[in-house]
Symmetry: C2
Subunit: 347 residues, 2 copies
């Protein structure tokens, strides 16, 4: 009596029949506004629904209502702690708002990104969050902007994380300022000669952090020779390779290596350690992001703290706060310098 028989899930129709009311009433009692249905009817419907183990069909609701309760989230790589922390924030804020999160990973490929954005738009989510860095030479930006603009025109909300150059709501991470502050603090600690491990030359996040860092040093009259700025993959293994590359070309008078993100810094530290360098004494290292692991490596890593979970939450809040029609809104998230053992005072 209770379980759905065979293949077909219970529909609202079944519930209405079981409760002896009309489809409309059943709908109102279960999903509609509070006021409209009389107490005993409502109870009868709810009881019937419970008895039959009824679950509203979300797809059908979406069609009927003309809108979903979905948040679509696009990340570069979910196994990367940067993205997984942001995702945790997006998921928790979404759940609180009764929204379901749909997720896809671009593997940092612009073509894939465009395809996936199209796939996500096809789901007609309420909110579309795009995390991950843009490339300066991204061949697809124009198309991307078109898709997203059309999506907004049709009532969806777009939120970009850290891509302020695009005309959408954005959670802004001021990488230039952050990296400059980091540089200043490192100068304070006495460091004077630096190397940088950066991502691909076209990767904007990487560029901004390099630029900010150089700005900070420049203000103190310090510069970095080109051969001491290497660019590799924006991953742990990239950092590892970058450190090796630096060591090959000497690394002689370098006191500190700035890796433009923590996973790269951690990889670099392993490469340096394996090469017999004493971290923190022979050579200092700093990163960016403050992913959880950097407290557990040795020495603990100096970095810029980005409240990543908060960033994810902010994306959802921004979407809710920004009225459609008005121009793009932004939430600025500021980073904080976290000095740890990898950069001891040296002068």
């Amino acid at each position: 009596m209770a379980r759905p028989i065979g293949q077909s899930p219970v529909t609202l129709h079944d519930v209405a029949r079981e409760a002896g009311v009309s489809l409309a009433t059943a709908s109102r009692a279960i999903n509609g506004s509070e006021r409209k249905v009389k107490q005993d009817y409502r109870e009868r419907v709810l009881a019937a629904a419970a008895r039959l183990n009824y679950k509203p069909n979300r797809a059908a609701q979406a069609v009927a209502r003309g809108s979903t309760m979905t948040v679509a989230l696009l990340v570069g790589d979910i196994a990367d702690p940067y993205f997984s922390s942001i995702a945790a924030g997006v998921i928790s804020a979404s759940e609180e708002a009764g929204l379901v999160v749909t997720m896809a990973a671009t593997q940092r490929d612009p073509d894939r990104e465009l395809d996936l954005v199209r796939a996500m738009v096809s789901q007609r989510p309420k909110i579309l969050v795009v995390a991950g860095s843009r490339l300066t030479d991204d061949p697809n930006v124009a198309k991307l902007v078109d898709e997203l603009t059309a999506f907004e025109a049709s009532g969806g909300r777009v939120v970009m994380i850290s891509q302020p150059e695009l005309p959408f709501n954005t959670v802004v991470l001021d990488n230039v300022t952050g990296a400059r502050q980091l540089a200043e603090h490192l100068l304070d600690l006495g460091y004077r000669s630096f190397a940088i491990i950066s991502g691909a030359p076209t990767l904007m996040t990487s560029n901004e952090r390099v630029q900010g860092f150089l700005d900070g040093l420049g203000a103190a009259g310090i510069s970095i020779a080109d051969e001491n700025i290497v660019s590799t993959e924006f991953t742990r293994d990239g950092g590892y390779a970058g450190a090796q590359q630096l060591m090959e070309s000497g690394l002689d008078h370098i006191e500190l290596i700035f890796a433009v993100n923590d996973v790269m810094a951690v990889g670099a530290m392993s490469a340096l350690r394996e090469a017999g360098r004493e971290l923190g004494t022979d050579i200092a290292v700093a990163g960016y992001d403050d992913i959880p692991t950097v407290q557990d490596v040795t020495p603990t890593l100096t970095t810029m703290r980005l409240p990543l979970v908060e960033v994810g939450r902010s994306a959802i809040q921004l979407a809710h706060a920004s009225p459609p029609g008005l121009g793009p809104a932004r939430t600025e998230i500021s980073a904080a310098v976290i000095l740890r053992a990898s950069t001891p005072r040296i002068r």
Copy 2:
């Protein structure tokens, strides 16, 4: 001419009109089977769709077809590398199969888990993947099994990751065997006295690993005193706290601490290090899972390698391989001992 005007997305209807064909033909040309529509009609429709920037409404397709193209994934905590690696596998395998992934996080709370399973069932996904460990005293198992059984009865496929006690398709991670192997290898290296940092006493994954480890030691006539088995949270901070607890109660003759997962092991290492213990020499540490970070901590961590991304992929493959109606199928994933610097040979 090209862009959707105002609020309403382009529908198949619009495309049909633009192409001068019927709704049915438009549907067939765009989403239907290859054979049925003549070349020039198909081209006209496709051209019209492109011109209007048409995107099929997935929800409407789901209603009409009676099934979605969705995979629902339930994890404990997406920011935990164990889950995020599994999620990466689920996402990539799903994308390859043209499926969209929906995700939710239980925060390891059984009540939340049940609620979220209900919410996900409501989406009528094609596949529902439940990762995360079960509790021995889970008050909701019966209800959970009911929900999942009903979901399967209505045509969905369920896959559990590492919960072989439930009557569903399962990706089995043989924790008992894995932990036993680890113990054997550590005995080989000369270790004779051990402590364990475990998760909550009701957490099955934790229990299995403890049990397997004790089995392995027991076969060599070695046991562990109760006070040297502490139980804490199944997280990095739990591991940190567990190590502190062990140190308070002495840790005197202990040669090696086995933490039942890597994040706990990494936390424990930090606690030990901060307390001035020389890792690998004063005290050895081993973990379980082989999350990426364990190669970058110092010393590198001995652990059991679980191919986590592969585990996620297997879940989707299993769902596709297992015909509905037949009993639950299983895929066994075996773990491999990875000896690293945290457990040097000592005898």
